[in-house]
């Protein structure tokens, strides 16, 4: 018997069968129970430990289903949609699942039914191993006692008193009268809710232990193995299967988890992260090979599960022609990549980009892409977008609904909820219409990327084009690439800016088709601006926040955008305009490159304009086109050049074109139509800000354009396998790049960022939190010199000959006396009083000094907290120039 000390004294929380027989009751005070039965054995309840055990069981249960949620203190809910056949049907699944737990010594009751509510009810009040099919569900539910409804005990008692002993009796009552039988409304509502959940009339979301992976493959071993080297062989197989799934969807894994299920019910996992999405089985296998020894085989492993919790569009990024030569991904991947129509990234350095390579979008590949996506489409659910949006915010709340999931599974796409809904979307990616759906989600996430500071490049964006699934995924991922891909269809956005590159483009986001995204975007972009609603595209740029103001764009593109129109204004959108959307997205990037590269103003300006134009037009153009077929990749290719023309005519009759797509395209065409109206042909229709901005943006750019690299984008793809190897061997934090932070305090002015984009974060972290908004900044134009090496903590100096208000004539650092021959300063750096960790930091006066030997140092003197007048404090060595 377990007891817990509570407010009303020590009470019983659980009792064994024998104790129950002896008269002990949960909730009873221990003293009362002792009085009734003096021989009770009492143990302290440990709710924390119970919970940990339950979580452990939940993890182990993931071998049966991808979505496992903990339910109350003692229950697990598994979403078994699509999983039963792996165990020989539902009966097999039930037997395997319960058998394992029983062998481990647990007593359990289980139920399997079409809705979580009914499954729970069966577990509570059924036979303990009951399986109910959809057809039997209503009848079985009616036969259950009201206690199965998970109502508060007093309500159950009340129902019984009312003569309503079974669920059937309750359901037979007219709803209105049901409500009237309760004294308060809460009670009535709770009864109704439970009833509806039982029958599936109301969705009951699960909160899965971990977000369902998009891709997973599993291998059960005939016999448990202890030797971990077996994992290597199994892994090879699993990888091939996983790669097949990824390939089918045009995705690449960004994170992988290999979970070993031990015979004793434990699990052991190896997690791998990749700097770039990949589906190169050999390469991933090598990365895993180094780490297999981390698996604890315990008493033997009887199953392996390989998941890709984060998968992103894998399209290719062709950095430059030269890069292809590098030992790159295998040919097939390269081909696919190219096919995905990813916009090329700028070359790694200040060379002008090689345009020939950059703008190549082989049409046949476009076709391939289209085919791949189409394969997945099943049906379009007009309501889906809304649901997807919600899901996109973070955990797939709606995931619990089996019906939806089932499409997903059917379509072969992972059990992700959003996916499910996105099924159609996916396809959409290609065709504009659907994007809509996708968007929302994506938008959301995209937003958060920035937060992470990914400098990286590429894109942060997100495209969401097709996005259904990605919402989830993406967000996390950061989207790199996708941008393009989706791009076409979808939104995109570049976060480039963050990198400091100011340059570019765009932060924006594109929302192409996007209806709901409002939601998403908002977060994401942060901005929000969003108008959420905008159907056609709202969007927003979030740039501004950073201060970047400017430029570029914050853009956003309102492509379709009706309301968007507004937004852009704020955002700055100028470019964005162009960017817009779909292709917009893509273009955005493109433009950017061009610009960055070529410093000539003219070029940029042009870009700007172009974008303006595109806004309406282009957008529609591509999308529509896509509807027709092969367009996407192509679209991207010419955004720059031909985008305009093509856009124009199509815009005129978007609806017509899109007609091919049927219902799906509907939304889109609306969007397109609107945007036309708004933007007009060359963007002037757009009210002031939008029009004006571009020019401004471009004008500024040149100045900065001269900066050499292009941000993370500068890294050629061939670099990423190396980064992965090193990061997985040394630890992810040990391979990094440095990015500037908007702070004048030298120790805060930069920070480490992961190479190649933010590492995807899993699980709930996917939510965007405004506070983590990126501190990232662009490079200051004219910064005072800063030392090459900055000491991790300033080291005290012994100053032997100080001048009252200037640098010392001599100082001793690390026991060596240095005579100052030249000095510059002081440069006064005040603490960032608005920053929480800066409290109490002193104002410092920095001097750049050179000693007789020729070494140059950056030394500072801390001023007393009261300010300069209060006196001067100690000297420190903070950095070394040479």
């Amino acid at each position: 018997m377990l007891v817990e000390r509570g407010a009303g004294g020590t009470r019983i929380t659980a009792a064994s069968r024998e104790a129950l027989r002896a008269g002990a009751r949960p909730g009873q005070a221990l003293t009362d129970a002792r009085a009734a039965c003096p021989g009770l054995r009492v143990l302290q309840a440990e709710p924390e430990a119970d919970r940990a055990l339950l979580e452990h069981l939940a993890r182990a249960a993931q071998r049966h289903a991808p979505i496992v949620a903990m339910d109350g203190p003692d229950g697990l809910l598994l979403d078994t949609t699509g999983c039963a056949h792996l165990f020989g049907g539902e009966a097999g699944l039930m037997a395997d699942c319960t058998g394992r737990l029983e062998r481990a010594g647990f007593t359990l009751r289980a139920g399997l039914a079409p809705t979580p509510g009914l499954a729970r009810a069966l577990a509570l009040c059924g036979t303990g191993r009951e399986i109910v099919t959809a057809e039997q569900a209503a009848a079985r539910a009616d036969a259950l006692p009201v206690a199965a409804l998970r109502l508060a005990p007093e309500r159950v008692v009340l129902l019984r008193r009312l003569g309503l002993a079974s669920v059937g009796a309750l359901r037979a009552l007219p709803r209105a009268t049901l409500e009237r039988r309760f004294r308060n409304r809460d009670a009535a509502l709770s009864v109704r809710l439970r009833l509806d959940q039982l029958t599936g009339a109301v969705d009951e979301p699960l909160a899965p232990l971990q977000p369902p992976p998009l891709y997973r493959v599993q291998q059960v071993l005939p016999e448990p193995v202890i030797d971990v080297s077996a994992a290597g062989m199994v892994l090879g197989d699993l990888l091939l299967r996983l790669v097949g799934l990824l390939e089918r969807d045009g995705r690449g894994a960004r994170a992988l988890t290999l979970t070993a299920f031990r015979a004793d019910g434990g699990t052991s996992a190896v997690r791998l992260r990749l700097a770039r999405p990949s589906r190169d089985a050999a390469r991933i296998g090598r990365l895993f090979a180094d780490r297999l020894e981390e698996i604890d085989s315990g008493f033997g492993i009887d199953a392996f599960l390989l998941e890709a919790p984060v998968a992103e569009a894998l399209s290719a990024r062709q950095d430059s022609l030269v890069e292809d030569l590098a030992p790159a991904p295998d040919a097939r991947q390269a081909r696919r990549n190219a096919g995905a129509g990813r916009a090329p990234e700028p070359p790694a350095d200040s060379r002008p980009p090689s345009r020939a390579g950059a703008e190549r979008h082989p049409p046949e590949q476009a076709g391939d892409l289209f085919a791949a996506r189409t394969g997945g489409v099943e049906e379009a659910d007009p309501l889906a977008p809304r649901a997807a949006v919600r899901a996109g915010g973070g955990m797939p709340r709606g995931a619990g609904h089996p019906r939806r999931l089932s499409h997903a599974l059917g379509a072969g796409r992972g059990a992700h909820l959003s996916t499910a809904e996105a099924g159609p979307c996916h396809m959409l990616a290609v065709d504009g219409a659907e994007d809509i759906v996708g968007f929302a989600q994506s938008g959301g996430e995209a937003g958060r990327r920035p937060a992470q500071g990914r400098d990286t490049e590429p894109g942060a964006g997100l495209a969401t084009a097709g996005g259904g699934e990605r919402g989830f995924g993406f967000g996390q991922a950061g989207g790199e690439v996708r941008g393009v891909h989706l791009a076409r269809s979808g939104g995109v956005e570049g976060r480039r800016p963050a990198q400091g590159r100011d340059t570019e483009p765009g932060a924006g986001l594109a929302a192409a088709g996007g209806g709901e995204r409002g939601f998403g975007s908002g977060q994401a972009g942060g901005t929000e601006r969003g108008m959420p609603p905008v159907r056609g595209g709202g969007v927003e740029g979030w740039r501004p926040a950073q201060g970047r103001d400017t430029e570029p764009g914050a853009g956003l593109a309102p492509a379709g955008g009706g309301e968007g129109g507004i937004r852009p204004g704020q955002a700055g959108g100028a470019e964005e305009g162009g960017r817009l959307a779909r292709r917009g997205g893509a273009d955005g990037r493109r433009l950017a490159q061009v610009r960055g590269a070529g410093p000539d103003p003219a070029g940029k300006a042009e870009g700007g304009i172009r974008s303006g134009r595109m806004t309406g037009v282009e957008d529609s153009g591509p999308l529509v086109r896509t509807g027709g077929g092969p367009a996407p990749a192509e679209g991207a290719g010419h955004d720059l050049r031909s985008g305009q023309e093509s856009g124009a005519e199509e815009a005129a009759c978007p609806a017509a074109r899109s007609g091919e797509e049927g219902g799906r395209s509907l939304v889109w065409s609306v969007g397109a139509g609107r945007s036309c109206a708004l933007v007009g042909e060359d963007g002037d229709a757009h009210p002031g800000p939008a029009g004006a901005k571009p020019a401004a943006g471009s004008a500024r750019r040149p100045g900065r354009g001269s900066a050499p690299g292009q941000g993370g984008a500068a890294l050629p793809g061939a670099m990423f396998p190396l980064v992965d190897t090193l990061a997985n061997r040394l630890g992810g934090r040990r391979v990094y790049q440095l990015a500037p932070v908007a702070s004048h305090l030298p120790e805060r002015a930069m920070r480490r960022v992961a190479v190649g984009g933010a590492q995807p974060r899993l699980a709930t972290a996917a939510r965007a939190t405004p506070d983590t908004a990126p501190d990232t900044a662009a490079w200051p134009e004219a910064a005072p010199p800063r030392p090459l090496r900055l000491l991790p903590r300033p080291e005290p100096l012994e100053v032997t000959a100080a001048l009252p208000d200037g640098p010392p004539l001599q100082f001793v650092w690390r026991r060596v006396r240095r005579v100052v021959v030249r000095a510059a300063g002081p440069e006064r750096i005040a603490p960032e009083w608005w920053h929480p960790d800066a409290r109490g930091t002193a104002v410092r006066d920095y001097y750049h000094v050179e000693d007789r030997e020729g070494c140059q140092y950056w030394i500072c003197r801390a001023l007393a907290p009261g300010g300069p007048a209060a006196g001067r404090g100690a000297w420190y060595m903070h950095g070394l120039f040479a």
Binding site: A348, R501, P716, L788, V819, R822
Partner: protein, 267 residues
Amino acid sequence: MDVDALRQVIARMEGRGAKLEPGGERGLPRWSLGVEGPDAALGPEGLAGGALHDFTPRQASHAPGLAAFVLRLLVRLPRAGPVLWCQTDFALREYGAPGIAAFRGAGLAPERVVFVSLRRAEEMSFVLEEALGVPALAAVLGEGPPLSFTATRRLALRAGESGVPCLFLGLGAQAQPSVAATRWRVGPAPGLPHPDDPAAPGQPGWAVELERARAGRPGAWKVTWNEETHSFAPLPVPAGGAGAAGRGGPEADPAGLAGATGGGGEG
């Protein structure tokens, strides 16, 4: 991209890549300091791609100055692509973390640099070898305690296969046997005054000694950096100073030597 670079690209596309020209890439300009003396001494290949170049500070405490020198060498690197800069945690603690503002100030885009920090110095060889297998890198730079002879040999071979130059900054002042194509010893030299303010420090100076050059001859020079041309420049001899080819040691003595001996205990 000039015509030579394009040819290089074509050569690579045709499969005649780095292997065709193991000594370096003829399509690219020669990599050197841009100062007559050292450039002549380096021989026709300059700082060859596909080879190991060893840099040692004259005293252990000169390591930051050495890093500043090498950073400027990287700015002059004709190869495109990212640079991998691998440091031990000890180097980070002792000589400070790289400040990217300075990278940018010197003319090297920080975005091009991927840093790797090592918990243990023994991992250095692994990282450098892995990195040298990636021809897309412009250069691989290691900063840590001196490598063993065998390790340098392996690095030199790896570098030869990929054509990527490998720069190693030894943190100890003692030179170790090495198969490096060039070996440099770098110490500080009084630099130039700031152009606008004679009392303020301007570009730093370095006393550079080329101890060994496979295709050239040793020599010693004092150089400084010209920000405008992004090249090194000879350091003007201050009136009454030592000769330009001098080791620079004598001038540093009054301030530095006493401390240099004590410097061993700094770690």
